[in-house]
Amino acid sequence: MNLYEFCYGIIHWLVDLINHLWYWLGNVFPWWFGDFFNAVGDLAASHGNIVVFTILLEVLVILIIAVINVLNFIWIDRKFMGRMFDFYGPYYVGFRIGGWLQNIADGIKLFVKEIITPAKADKIGFYLGPVIFVSSSFLALSTIPLGRNFGIATNPSGLGVPASALMAFAFFAIAPFAILISGWSSNNKYTLIGGMRSAAQMMSYEIPMLLTVASVFLLAGSFDFMDIVSAQHGIWFAIPLALGFVIFLVCLVAEVEIQPFDLPEAEAELVEGWTTEYSGMRFGFFMMTSYLRGYIGGALATALFLGGWHGPALIPEPIWFLIKAYIVFVVIEWMRWSTPRVRVDQLLNIGWNRLMPLAMLNLLIAASMKTMGWF
């Protein structure tokens, strides 16, 4: 499946259609700016314009896929939790299709709710927090290709980003700033503690995560998702770098803030963590984006360690990719619903004292494998 060609085809067809319209208008009303219509039609049909519109359409497609995936993820989360906990999860809503519409109902309800800005909050920060959080997560998402020809940042038009994996991690790491800003500007002690915890946690887990990712870069010899995935054609990196994969999963859990490491929104001690003061759709964005980050995490693990879209050719590449991402997500959810939460000093202890040396060891293993010429 080639996303670029698909979108290019659609845009080309649309532009042609519009061109015909303009020319027809120019022919029908020649006395009224006839030349102008013709000129506009020519301009719209230029190659550069078509490429730009194609990329916009690609972004839209990826966005829709992401949103559908996020809805699926929330649903899987609830249903899987229900199966673990001996109950059904959402069930009666909508047309009784297993409660899949529950997330949509939640979203629409949050859209209808009143949005409250606390009187003593720092307005600019309070507004900016969700915006940065959501937009940085979507930017990270945009760099990940779902198939050999199914991505935005790596398309054959020549407009792709060369170091897309690096870009993904750069965008992925912006979130703690957004959390810190929104936690501080809410003017609430719980949100402040939550924001501080989040900053400490994410920054300390960023380093072992990037070290393990560096070992993948070393083996693949590239910063680009396309090259990394195609380097895993023979063997997935999760097998030689098994240690690194485990470290990556642990860091991922900390980065997307779910259960054993969900200190910033630890429900029992900090009421709802840094989202305490947010209401209505702003909270909805936070909730959706936290699952979106779970999706991104699964996609990153898939692309870097689980061979991306490689699989038997019966199923199309993007579907393979999504299946793997879903499996990673379910494993993370499994951890989430069965473990207690760690404490903040223990968390930092694990990060710096355990994961850092192990990540270094993993990098050493990767480097020696590269030196031996196995990859």
Binding site: G82, Y88, P90, Y92, V93, I108, V112, E114, E277, S279
Partner: protein, 182 residues
């Protein structure tokens, strides 16, 4: 006209909001939007009820049991949130003492609209066994508007779930669209 020119940008936005919304609400466009959206919004609102995680007395225990596997209120989309900012329903499940009264009122004020109140158990309805005590407010409806009353001392979990379904019915009867809902 002079007034319009002397507007600051904030005032202008406020004025435009008021005028545009007023016109929209009164015009057929407004009623059309309302007609199109009200069923959908109403469906969403009644199917996702987030009560506040707030336990007072015996009924709080039944509230916890109602979200446990046997009674499983999550089937109906009932999820407990801990902060009043993200809740729809204030579930008062016990006697309200005079020391608690200001705090409860504040919780109610912190919740974003549209919001509902369920009085669960005799204590919240009328003071229950403590109706003539010196420190218990006889009934939470003395200072908060209550929508659903669930009798019982303590109310059983089935009764609580029935209360949620009654609340869904109540929301269904009172449909509001995009413009009238705000």
């Amino acid at each position: 006209m002079g007034n319009v020119i002397a507007f600051r940008s904030k005032d202008f936005i406020k004025w435009a909001d008021g005028v545009l919304e007023g016109v929209l609400r009164r015009s057929p466009v407004g009623s059309g939007v309302d007609y199109l959206t009200k069923d959908f919004f109403n469906w969403a609102t009644r199917n996702s009820i987030y009560p506040l995680h707030f336990g007072i007395m015996c009924c709080a225990l039944e509230m916890a049991v109602a979200s446990a596997p046997r009674f499983d209120a999550q089937r109906f989309g009932v999820i407990y949130r801990s902060t009043p900012r993200q809740c729809d329903v204030l579930l008062v499940n016990g006697p309200v003492s005079k020391k608690l009264k200001p705090a409860l009122r504040r919780l109610y004020d912190q919740m974003p609209g549209p919001k509902w109140v369920i009085a669960m158990g005799e204590c919240a309805i009328s003071g229950g066994p403590f109706y003539n005590s010196y420190s218990v407010v006889p009934g939470v409806d003395q200072f908060i508007p209550v929508d659903i009353y669930i009798p019982g001392c303590p109310a059983r979990p089935e009764a609580l779930i029935d209360g949620f379904i009654k609340l869904q019915k109540m929301i269904k009867e009172n449909k509001k669209g995009l413009l009238t809902g705000k």
